[in-house]
Symmetry: C2
Subunit: 410 residues, 2 copies
Amino acid sequence: AADFQRLLAGYAELLVKVGVNLQPGGKLLVNAPLEAAELARLVARSAYRAGALNVVVRYVDEQLARLKMDAAPDAAIEYVPAWLPDEALRMIEDGYSFLTLDGSDPDLMAGADPERLAKTATLRAAVMRPVSQKMMGFEAAWCIGAISIPSWAIKVYPELAPEEAVSALWRDIFKVTRADTPDPVAAWQAHIVRLGKVRDFLNTQHFASLHFADPHGETDLTVGLADGHLWAGVEDHTKAGVKIVPNMPTDEVFTAPHRDRVDGVAVASKPLLVRGETVEGIRVRFEGGKVVEASARSGEATFLKLLDTDEGARHIGEVALVAASAPVAQTGRLFYNTLFDENAASHIALGRAYPFTFSQDPAQSGGNDSLIHEDWMIGTPSMNVDGVNPDGSRVTLMRGGEWAIEGLTT
Amino acid sequence: AADFQRLLAGYAELLVKVGVNLQPGGKLLVNAPLEAAELARLVARSAYRAGALNVVVRYVDEQLARLKMDAAPDAAIEYVPAWLPDEALRMIEDGYSFLTLDGSDPDLMAGADPERLAKTATLRAAVMRPVSQKMMGFEAAWCIGAISIPSWAIKVYPELAPEEAVSALWRDIFKVTRADTPDPVAAWQAHIVRLGKVRDFLNTQHFASLHFADPHGETDLTVGLADGHLWAGVEDHTKAGVKIVPNMPTDEVFTAPHRDRVDGVAVASKPLLVRGETVEGIRVRFEGGKVVEASARSGEATFLKLLDTDEGARHIGEVALVAASAPVAQTGRLFYNTLFDENAASHIALGRAYPFTFSQDPAQSGGNDSLIHEDWMIGTPSMNVDGVNPDGSRVTLMRGGEWAIEGLTT
Ligand SMILES: [Zn+2]
Ligand SMILES: [Zn+2]
Ligand SMILES: [Zn+2]
Ligand SMILES: [Zn+2]
């Protein structure tokens, strides 16, 4: 127990010092599930000790969202107040940093009406758009870190009793975030340098496209890259120049595809959680950048609804490379959580691109836009990835799921 | 357990249907301590079943306030964001009702720096003033109801184990709110009629002052009433015309004193909780409406700081009559909570008056104003209260702590 307390306090420190990299005099908003009080208090303590002016914790009771889905009248599903984004916008202006403690029940919305789910999610995304645009543009420092809560833990460790499942998931979180190393902050600095080298190499190449081919699977996909695309990963800089690590864990490097230059077939290597429902066995065919065929073994209706959110939901806005040996993959577990699973496998994302993955105007460069951004895992331990130059020549990037860039050890 | 669930669900229904009297298509904000998830969900369910458009629950972790008091730099104590009231103001405009589930640790701030406590409370009250003014003017429907949580329950029932203390406090809550009667909603209608008769009688009298005299105590206090004062109690009407019960329980009728016409000595009949500290043995002398002497057996420094908040903090803005036999008093417990204790005894309130206790402009009528409003119990089972007419003649209101108005059975 004392050991757990020590690890948890160190993890809180990591989220504050490396994640949002809170500066003296900084202000912090923490979004957290109800079960996160212990961690949230450690985060607040760590922030105040670092000289924070204010820490606001917004506790979220996700059961209320389910209850609304089931019990509220139809008019309630269509109601999203216009003032919803205002406070967050004021906080961004006011220099707040944003830390999200991510832990939720993967089955929260199982069996709920997909029409109602899609309607609420779409309306909400539209109203909150000014906030997500500013976040994606790094007008504020932000970080998403994981928290082990019972409803999530028992999904990841169904063979364990709830309390043991929570402990097991905490062990995974401490492991993949390096919180269990003697000096977590130093371990992150090393990781940032290591993965930064890959990102920087890719930025020297200016590939026309990436080619994913899995000799043991069906995926054979060419992802054309946006004109003047930029590779990003591990670390970002806010507009004010603060270095942050927006995702913990993070083992991806990623960039912007060209919205009209994606062709071929991609099959999901992991289930995808869409609006609380687990979608399994996704297979998609792209033509000219657009999803022209889509199927799923389970949850297909929800997946098809997602694709129909808007025009941009059938195009992709992110392509990311992750080694098959990344720490999350090493746990051997499926986490039913994007923050974790996307760092276990190479992936693409349906929906909007990140503005910071373009050197020029995103719309002019072939960047995609949408209300959604859904990461979707296609990487496998047998995946080969090449970078394709404008003249058709190729550079080996990954072989058998692992980095294989000549002259670069990672 | 099944019985408790039934009572809790009935209590939730009471808060929604009688407390804020939520209308079909209504919207509800619930402020609740972290421990209130079960009740908050029942409230949400009840609200959605009544046709609510939206229920937002804001969970408050009061430990964060204590942690800030202890660990934050001085600058943090002086920081209150200007945007703090904005969301509540937008919600008031947007027709939201406000339900506060009141449960907190009476010792939360024990031993904290009184300077820092006072500074934060004063700055916060100033920034939140536009909200409290609208609430006091009933521009929104609102209700405060109690919730049993461990830190509060063990203070009320120190002789019990925490879990039993929580159950015992729940029994008290269900009792004083009539949630344990066969038809709680009907029981409240009867209570509203009964206490309403007293309020209506007092409104026909137009007393110049009230005279409190306790033959077994030191209190001998003349409370001059504001010109054109109005008696209020049990039920109020929002500006939109919805009948609400702002406090559950409520057994008081109250009106506005004249800020410059209070004279004599008042001693507290119960401890007062000020900013998380328990102040005991308060004795105050008024002259021309102003507190000119003040002492307390414990917590005196905190009490004196409260009086120094602003000019109006040394004058009173409310005088309230409560029968010594009221349900809360019958429990025989001290609750260290204003919502409960103020409904166990007659009281006065330091600080601002309620605008709805005046028939004309409050400032012109002798109404008091301040950033604070602190109820302060002076009623005892031996207290006599007379209404004094402008010509000096007297009307018996209470004898031995009980209502004794001729011709009125209560
Ligand atoms: Zn990604
Ligand atoms: Zn993504
Ligand atoms: Zn009162
Ligand atoms: Zn009061």
